[in-house]
Symmetry: C2
Amino acid sequence: MNVGIIGGGQLARMLALAGYPLGLRFVVLDPAPDACAAQLCDHLQAAYDDPAALEELARRCDVITYEFENVSLTGVDKIAEVTAVYPSSRSLAVSRDRLREKTLFRELDIPTPQFVAIDSFADLENAPKLLGWPFLLKTRRFGYDGKGQYLLYNAGDLQPAWQALASQSLIGESFVPFQREISILAARRKNGETAFYPLSENQHQNGILHLSRCRPDDPQTKPAENLIQRLLETLDYVGVMALELFEVHGKLLANEMAPRVHNSGHWTIEGAETSQFENHLRAILDLPLGATEPVNYSAMVNFIGALPELADLLEQPGIHCHAYSKALRPGRKVGHATVRAPTEAALEARLNHLLKLLP
Amino acid sequence: MNVGIIGGGQLARMLALAGYPLGLRFVVLDPAPDACAAQLCDHLQAAYDDPAALEELARRCDVITYEFENVSLTGVDKIAEVTAVYPSSRSLAVSRDRLREKTLFRELDIPTPQFVAIDSFADLENAPKLLGWPFLLKTRRFGYDGKGQYLLYNAGDLQPAWQALASQSLIGESFVPFQREISILAARRKNGETAFYPLSENQHQNGILHLSRCRPDDPQTKPAENLIQRLLETLDYVGVMALELFEVHGKLLANEMAPRVHNSGHWTIEGAETSQFENHLRAILDLPLGATEPVNYSAMVNFIGALPELADLLEQPGIHCHAYSKALRPGRKVGHATVRAPTEAALEARLNHLLKLLP
């Protein structure tokens, strides 16, 4: 079986590493000559929406998936006529547009921060009446790792925020002083079979995910499963989905969903019986899903911009290195490590060691 | 860092799968156009002893290793002038020749079945005086999976055995009615740092490994570690080594060693904190070795000649599939599965399920 992946970054790379043991082969579509997944997959070097390349991908592959949301919808619809594409273009269309996404949350009674479409400067001036101060102005599309966002504290920020972002479609969102950020990942197969991972508790630095801890038996597990289940069913979803949530005084607010494997689920490679990468592949190939139970206690730390010395890293017990073989650039995710330990206390001790090694 | 591997079969494939997360890249040398490791590594398609290909491999790689013993010694010595090659050509020379291997065992006081060089038919006629009946006639080289062996029960077998094997250098070995077959795997780094895996208890079928169970806390652990330690030190060994042992009335007899990752250690991918593949790479790259502690209870079952239905396999809890993407042929190792479970009893139950799925 040949699996096509639109995008050849670290998510594609880890999908391939999880999929070779299932006997799968991989073709990635990525314009970068040094796309890190291309080291271990066949590589179609072309723009993500290049019609000829998409057609070739569809012809060569039994199923196609993608590693990010900003895939051409018309491209996906075109290849979906030839080959199965999962998650569906509807899931993609919803999740890549913050306004459509939050509107769907509202329709499904999934609590979410207050939001409003911003189509003009007048809309922006009116926004604080609904959202209060401070509030966030965000691009509806192409935002990731805190990019495409502006936090406004008072009326003096309206003009600069407008200047910074008004070239794109925008949304205003109330600013939520949350106590915790968590995410839930689930895999769903076409027949409705669904597997939920234990919750991830996440810490960000400068808008980029820094640390995710697996939280088995978290009290928010059932409420979070209930929320993501509504999305999975409504979208007749196939694949792994992530839903990011804020916990505010014990209540969950949905921040955003991702129709793909997710950085906050990287601990599942060592920390769950079946990784999110393998379960995504199983789901899109309509194979039985693997167990999602935790294996000991685990957490994940991202390497941003640089990697620790490999020898220092490997000297620490229970640390599993994942270098993406990407060129090092400030702010770029270039690797992560999973820390695993037999007890929660040992996990925290190992995590402390690891954090000291960060460059 | 670039790692070169002589041989592009499943061992090279699993080395690469373990090495990409360390940020390594791989070049395999293999004459087969469809070598299964070539799906995810750069591929030099040439004979294993092709001087130009070996030279290119040495030029492109920071370190070179191999996945089987029948590598050209002169080739290895040649490239070792340019690039590090581990394990060393001495380890290779000893382990690929049953007579040299057993002679080294004897020199190191490692108990082994009685043996004698067979250089003529007269030697063969004399052998039963030393070895008793039945005894084994084996080729000194190129034997694997029970190939190149003849079990002689009486004088009537001398002629047919000689006819079958006399074109090669031979060794006679006494037949050992053992109670158990076990193997021990160890990784050793240049500075002498050594890590031992828990013992594997092995079952063969038709001369081919069928099933290996991880046996933590086995009473033979210390004795087995003591035996392999002598080999590792004498050979100043670098990499993973396997030593196959027979248990006879509570005593261990060394059967053979392998200067490489070994089929009986495949359970380490899920069943040990660090797999044999990752530790082999760490050892040859002079990086700290990873912990070898077991992760829950595990066992490995080989798929010979055919694979079970993937959907049937993945439906079973705790089963991890490793398909090698090789053409299916009778007697050929085409994949394996690791079974992992939280208790020994659950492991045996899951193993029973798995064995029922074998084609």
